[in-house]
């Protein structure tokens, strides 16, 4: 920008000057003249008479106080919007103020006005305001009244807050305004931060130029899809009031629009927990129970309180997992949104009403909620501690025991238990057995041992018994020979009685041993029968019979026996020899 500065007057550090942006204008171009008064009072400001110009608007008075490096600067500006009446050289005369009782004048400016046709700077006129106004007015208006869209972030996660601010900048006086194009914010969940019906202007500097600035709308956006998203422009229509000197003014209708903005929405990382709530930002959770010792049928409130930054509307209500012994009602919700600067947040409280129906000690399992923590750049899972709840008393509502009861049991319900047992308790020692187990095993095994013992004894005895008989049988011949020898001795000694006695003993003994017949059972018939059974021929048996008869006769009636001792002896030895041969 070209500045023409001229000091017409100065008092100390004060200055009073007239400024135009350039010195050559087209005939139909609007000319902005600013009278700037610094560090001086603007008392009795008198504009020049602007001869040869039409005053389109003005004066617009601006004031500012600045403090730069401890030096206080106050400045007052008067702005006029002019249009030349005819081409040629025109002079804007000096304006005057009264400072410390003296009249101070500004510089005067000489402008060259060219013919309108010669310099047709047609800008196309997109946002032409009043139809009867020309392009240069539009340019002027656009420069001094516009709306801007600001976005605090260019790249966000899906679900992360991005703040869009629409700001109205003006230097001109605006009578009324209306929004002709409200942004739709497709693809975003929106929470309004500022959407004022009345606009309050502040002074703000944009690119070194001071404006009256007002925030028309500020909105927190939460992208619902990923990729490149566009934030819609806002269209405004204003009635611009331009004073034309004195009390008169003109009004222009001016339409203008903010630009649009683009942001990139990134998807959230893939390692998303199953219980991810959708919240991106910060979150805190508190789970409380108004009491942990309760009576049955006595309502308990379980509160889950979330607070944090981000869109808490994304949060789903967690479903507490409680035993069937609790009746749980639909939760009561209370929400409050808060803001810290432009960061949207809030609290959400979910109150569940629980009614315990049975006594017992119960556990409320931890409630978990996951969110994406922007500071950590990762998912965070909140987990409430387990709450232990003790319920006492009997419920009046349910009689759970009556489920699945049969007819017999229904009859039993009204009855009382039977009386205790009295009398001898017949106490025993717990877990006792009739006798210690090893002893029992011994007593049990004894019959087996005894049985086998007896069996063995019997077998042995049988064996032994069998052996004696055999031995006797075998030895029978020798025994008989011995006895016969003794009989022979008796014979030689002429002891008749002794002889016969020994002879009979020898014979009977031999028969007894040989035939296995006990001597007590022995008689002549039995011996003969037994021998006959062993197929001894009759002649021998006869001989034996005669011999036995003779010997017995000789023993008990000696007179009747004619046979000599020697004959009887020979006969006996012969028979025993023969039997020994046949029976061996």
């Amino acid at each position: 920008m070209l500045l023409l500065l001229a000091f017409a007057a100065s008092a100390q550090t004060g200055s009073f000057k007239a400024i135009v942006s350039k010195t050559t204008f087209a005939e139909n171009e609007s000319i902005q003249v600013t009278f700037s008064i610094e560090n001086m009072s603007d008392r009795n400001f008198a504009p020049p008479d602007f001869r040869g110009f039409n005053v389109l608007s003005g004066p617009m008075k601006g004031m500012s106080n600045m403090n730069i490096n401890g030096v206080r600067t106050s400045s007052v500006t008067y702005v006029y919007l002019l249009q030349a009446q005819a081409p040629g050289k025109l002079t804007i005369g000096p304006a005057s103020i009264e400072h410390n009782g003296k009249t101070v004048r500004s510089n005067s400016i000489t402008l060259t006005i060219t013919k309108a046709g010669s310099r047709n700077n047609n800008s196309g006129g997109g946002n032409n305001g009043g139809g009867n106004e020309n392009v240069s007015v539009n340019d002027y208006l656009n420069e001094n009244l516009f709306v801007r869209l600001f976005v605090d972030k260019k790249e966000v996660y899906k679900g992360e807050q991005v703040t869009a601010t629409y700001k109205l900048y003006r230097k001109l006086q605006v009578d009324q305004y209306s929004i002709t194009q409200a942004p739709a914010f497709n693809g975003f969940w929106t929470i309004d931060i500022e959407d004022s019906k009345t606009i309050d202007f502040d002074v703000e500097t944009l690119n070194g130029v001071q404006y009256y600035v007002a925030t028309v709308r500020k909105v927190a956006l939460f992208a619902q899809k990923t990729g490149e998203l566009e934030i819609d422009p806002m269209g405004l229509e204003c009635m611009v009031v331009v004073p034309t000197g004195g009390w008169s003014y003109r009004k222009f209708q001016h339409k203008f629009s903010s630009g649009k903005a683009k942001i990139t929405v990134k998807p959230l990382p893939g390692n998303q927990p199953a219980d991810f709530s959708g919240l991106v930002g910060e979150l805190d959770m508190q789970v409380t129970m108004d009491k942990t010792n309760a009576q049955t049928d006595d309502p308990i409130t379980l509160s889950i309180k979330y607070s944090g930054k981000g869109n808490l509307k994304f949060l789903e209500n967690p479903q507490p997992e409680l035993p069937k012994d609790f009746e749980m009602f639909d939760p009561k919700l209370s929400e409050r949104s808060t803001r810290q600067g432009n960061v949207v947040g809030g609290t959400r409280q979910i109150d569940y009403l629980l009614i315990p129906r049975r006594a017992g000690t119960y556990k409320l399992p931890p409630i978990t909620t996951s969110y994406f923590d922007l500071k950590k750049g990762d998912y965070v899972t909140l987990r409430s501690p387990e709450i232990v709840l003790s319920v006492k008393g009997e419920s009046s509502v349910t009689t759970p025991a009556t489920t699945g009861i049969n007819k017999e049991e229904v009859e039993l319900l009204g009855k009382d238990i039977r009386y205790i047992e009295t009398g001898e308790p017949e106490l025993t020692t717990e877990g006792s057995f009739v006798m210690p187990l090893p002893l029992y095993a011994g007593v049990y095994a004894t019959p087996f041992l005894l049985f086998y013992g007896l069996l063995a004894f019997k077998r042995k005895r049988d064996k032994e018994l069998g052996n004696t008989k055999l031995m006797k049988r075998r030895k029978a011949g020798k025994v008989a020979a011995k006895r016969l020898k003794q009989a022979e001795e008796r014979m030689n000694a002429q002891d008749k009685r002794g002889f016969y006695d020994e002879l009979l003993k020898a014979t009977w003994g031999y028969l007894s041993d040989k035939l296995g017949i006990p001597p007590s059972d022995m008689n002549k018939d039995m011996a003969l029968n037994a021998l006959r059974a062993r197929s001894i021929d009759e002649a021998q048996l006869n001989e034996l019979g005669i011999m036995l008869d003779t010997a017995e006769m000789a023993l008990y009636a000696p007179s009747t026996v004619n046979e000599s001792l020697q004959q009887t002896y020979d006969r006996a030895t012969a028979i025993i020899d023969q039997l020994e041969n046949s029976l061996s």
Binding site: P323, D325, R358, A359, G360, T361, Y362, K363, P365, P400, A401, G404, I405, E409, L412, L413, K415, D416, I417, R418, Y419, I420, E421, T422, G423, E424, P425, E426, L427, T428, T429, E430, G431, S432, F433, V434, Y440, V443, Y444, P447, F448, L450, F451, L454, L455, K458
Partner: protein, 257 residues
């Protein structure tokens, strides 16, 4: 001979000491009964529990203790002691009746699984006599078998020996069967397979560990099958409509039948 006398004297001393003790225990029992009659159920419970704590048991003690617990509203312990009484004396009609009443008072009732009628009969037969009773019968049978065995060994008569052998074999088999009964009953008396939950309710865990998952809740008076212990935890099985449920509970929430 002198030794024998000393042994007999010692035995007599022991027996008389045991007799004196029995008198004392009976006194405790009677005092507890008096407390029950006077509606001082807490004292009655203490008295009966004192008997049990020194290992003196009888169906009557368990039954009366069950009644006292029933009166003070401890259904878990009431059921436990009725069950114990019935274990010692399956035909204890009063205990069975009161157990039914107590079971009606509790919340979760696990219906006993219906078993095959022959098994029921068999159990009734075997549990109808104590292990000692069966043991004595088994001994008697085996000694009788021995007597018949002697006849078999020493008889000269072949027909008699045959009959004796058949009887001996029969008595031996009979004795073995009785011994089997004694063993089953001994097992039944000395090995606990069932328990009763004695606390108001308890969470059943997936593992013997406090931090493990809760599977389901068991309530006071519920009968469970014991499946083994580990570090103070008991593995239990409960019959349910949807099949058997198995999990772990702390041992102190259970009373063993």
């Amino acid at each position: 001979m002198k030794r024998w006398l000393i042994h007999i004297a010692m035995l007599w001393v022991c027996l008389s000491a045991a007799a004196n003790e029995t008198v004392d225990f009976t006194a405790i029992y009677n005092t507890a009964n008096d407390a029950y009659v006077a509606k001082d159920y807490q004292s009655a419970i203490e008295g009966y529990e004192q008997l049990l704590s020194v290992g003196k048991v009888s169906p009557a003690v368990y039954y009366n203790l069950g009644n006292a617990y029933f009166r003070v509203g401890s259904m878990g312990f009431a059921i436990l002691n009725y069950e114990r009484a019935l274990k010692l004396e399956p035909e204890h009609e009063d205990a069975a009746f009161n157990l039914k009443l107590a079971n009606l008072q509790i919340n979760d009732r696990v219906e006993p699984a219906t078993e095959f009628i022959l098994i029921t009969w068999f159990n009734k037969l075997v549990h109808g006599r104590s292990a000692s009773g069966w043991g004595i019968w088994a001994l008697a049978a085996i000694w009788l078998a021995l007597v018949i065995g002697v006849l078999y060994i020493f008889s000269g008569n072949l027909a008699l020996r045959r009959v004796a052998f058949a009887f001996m074999a029969m008595f031996i088999v009979g004795s073995v069967v009785l011994m089997g009964f004694a063993k089953i009953q001994y097992q039944y008396e000395n090995v606990t397979t069932k328990g009763i939950i004695t606390v108001t309710n308890t969470y059943v865990k997936a593992a013997p560990d406090q931090s493990s998952t809760d599977l389901f809740i068991l309530r006071e008076g519920t009968k469970v099958t014991l499946m083994g212990t580990e570090n103070g935890w008991q593995k239990v099985k409960v019959a349910d409509d949807a099949g058997d449920k198995v999990g772990w509970v702390r041992e102190d929430v259970l009373g063993l039948i």
